[in-house]
């Protein structure tokens, strides 16, 4: 049974996305950058990490061009799913957009852009920094 979204952990994140801010958390006790949002620091166990705003710059940590997609994304193929390492020290999944799919490489610099996902909900994507 799926939890209703957004949930208490994710509401500040999705509110941020809707207003063009990429929010993440940082532990007040051990200073670890935390993503995805949660109520406990997964490094040191301290409660209630602080919310911060990312500049939105990062590099591609890993990437794959998807040719066989889940059904909801079949009209999108081929598309590039990537793990992006943000400058603030956290990693997140996204897609790399606004470029040839074949041109995306590990280590490439990218910057956040906001687009609606297939459900019409705003989500963070990344585009190469030219």
């Amino acid at each position: 049974m799926a939890e209703e979204l957004p949930d208490p952990d994710s509401a500040p994140y999705w509110d941020g996305i809707a207003s063009g801010e990429l929010r993440y958390q940082r532990c007040g006790a051990c200073d670890t950058a935390i993503f995805y949002p949660r109520s406990i620091c997964p490094t040191c166990g301290a409660a209630d990490p602080d919310w911060q705003v990312s500049v939105g710059d990062g590099v591609v940590y890993a990437c794959s061009i998807i040719h066989r997609s889940p059904p909801a994304h079949k009209d999108d193929v081929p598309y590039v799913v990537a793990l992006v390492e943000l400058a603030e020290g956290f990693r997140m999944m996204s897609r790399i957009v606004d470029c040839d799919t074949d041109s995306v490489t590990v280590g490439q610099s990218v910057r956040v852009v906001y687009r609606d996902d297939n459900d019409g909900k705003p989500a963070p994507y990344f585009a190469p920094i030219s």
């Binding site: 940590y61 890993a62 794959s64 061009i65 889940p70 793990l83 280590g107 989500a123």
Partner: protein
């Protein structure tokens, strides 16, 4: 406290494999259990513990025990993907050592092929998955593709090297009458197969089949009274580091780095002592990463390690000797078949594919999206 020799494997069996339309998950598990208990020389009434990792129904552990007519005094539904059964073996050893049970069955069955259950399914969309859901990563293949891309970028590993692992594994399948794909395979054919999620081609991916298996685990006292040579658990370790791929700390290092270290330390066995190695091959990259994490080669060297037919029949490193998930069978959670093949190799029952004089084997299961690993070291003596 060590689990060394805390238990032995007394019986192993597969159900029918491949495409088995006239079956259910229950009939396949019953079929495997009946055969495994028969070769162990034990009756169902001897069984006092059940380990399974079902994905059927609401309370799968209760359903399978009910169907089989077992009222266990010890029960464990640890479900961490395809590695679950190597976890189960360690847990069974601990329970037997504690005196909580004497005869355990580890069970699995799936009809995913015939029932077309296995689709490239939608990711879950709540809790931690809500941050991945918008992007359409096909699970599990896309996650393994991300790891492969990272390994290639970091170390220069090539698609040809991954393809060679698939080819060597197919050569073993050609020697196994029970294998699903037995026709010859070349590196060029792997590279020419459809790209699913770059850099992984269709033939870098495991099969989708039906099938079930059962492993009978007994106390040392019972092991010594049974018809077949007992296969002893010498070492086991387990670990999991994440559930979703975006949370994996380093995409080139799997939890096998921790579980393998513990298994080797417990057993007192070293890498070069091993005669045969069975490593979960959900995808070709899974094997490369696991070889490194278990310490068979240095980080970044697994691509070179598997080239030159080194892991093929006649090669110096017999690996996935039944043909693996890539060519023998893969009914969703493959780990139970790693144990079955390791036991048969140690008993010398493998016919054409038998590794000569095998007395020590390693079985390493990986589950989820490189999320969990349990590694077991087994011995004939």
């Amino acid at each position: 406290m060590s689990l060394k020799r805390a238990c032995a494997i007394a019986g192993v069996a597969e159900s029918r494999l491949g495409v088995v339309p006239d079956s259910t998950v229950m009939t396949l598990q019953a079929e495997a259990m009946i055969a495994a208990l028969a070769e162990a020389g034990l009756e169902k009434s001897d069984v006092d513990a059940v380990f399974s990792s079902g994905n059927w129904g609401r309370l799968p552990q209760l359903q399978v025990a009910e169907y089989l007519g077992i009222r266990p005094s010890y029960s464990d539904n640890t479900s961490v993907g395809g590695a679950s059964f190597e976890f189960h073996l360690g847990h069974a050893a601990a329970a037997i050592q504690a005196g909580l049970c004497k005869v355990a069955v580890i069970l699995y069955g799936s009809t995913q092929r015939s029932r077309r259950e296995r689709r490239i399914f939608e990711a879950h969309t709540d809790l931690g998955y809500q941050y991945e859901a918008p992007y359409g990563l096909p699970i599990p293949v896309g996650a393994y593709a991300l790891a492969a891309s990272r390994h290639m970028a970091q170390y220069g590993t090539t698609s040809e090297q991954m393809a060679e692992l698939a080819v060597s594994t197919r050569s073993w399948a050609q020697l196994n009458p029970a294998a699903y794909r037995r026709e010859p395979l070349t590196v060029d054919e792997v590279l020419a197969s459809d790209m699913i999620a770059s850099p992984l081609h269709r033939l870098d991916c495991c099969l989708v089949t039906d099938g079930g298996g059962c492993v009978v685990v007994v106390s040392p006292e019972i092991a010594k009274t049974l018809p077949k040579a007992p296969i002893w658990l010498l070492g086991q370790g387990e670990a999991h580091s994440h559930a979703q791929i975006s949370e994996m700390p380093d995409l080139t290092v799997t939890p096998a780095a921790e579980s393998g270290k513990r298994a080797f330390a417990m057993s007192g066995v070293t890498h070069s002592d091993l005669d045969v190695v069975e490593i979960y091959d959900s995808f070709t990259i899974t094997v490369l990463l696991t070889l490194e994490s278990l310490g068979f080669c240095k980080p970044g060297e697994s691509g070179a390690f598997v080239t030159g037919g080194r892991t093929a029949p006649g090669g110096e490193f017999p690996l996935n000797t039944n043909g693996g998930g890539l060519s023998y069978c893969h009914p969703g959670q493959y780990g139970i078949f790693l144990l079955i093949e390791a036991v048969r190799q140690l008993r010398g029952e493998c016919g054409e594919r038998q590794v000569a004089d095998a007395t020590l084997a390693l079985a390493s299961g990986t589950g989820g999206v490189l999320s969990s690993n349990s590694t077991c070291i087994l011995g004939l003596e």
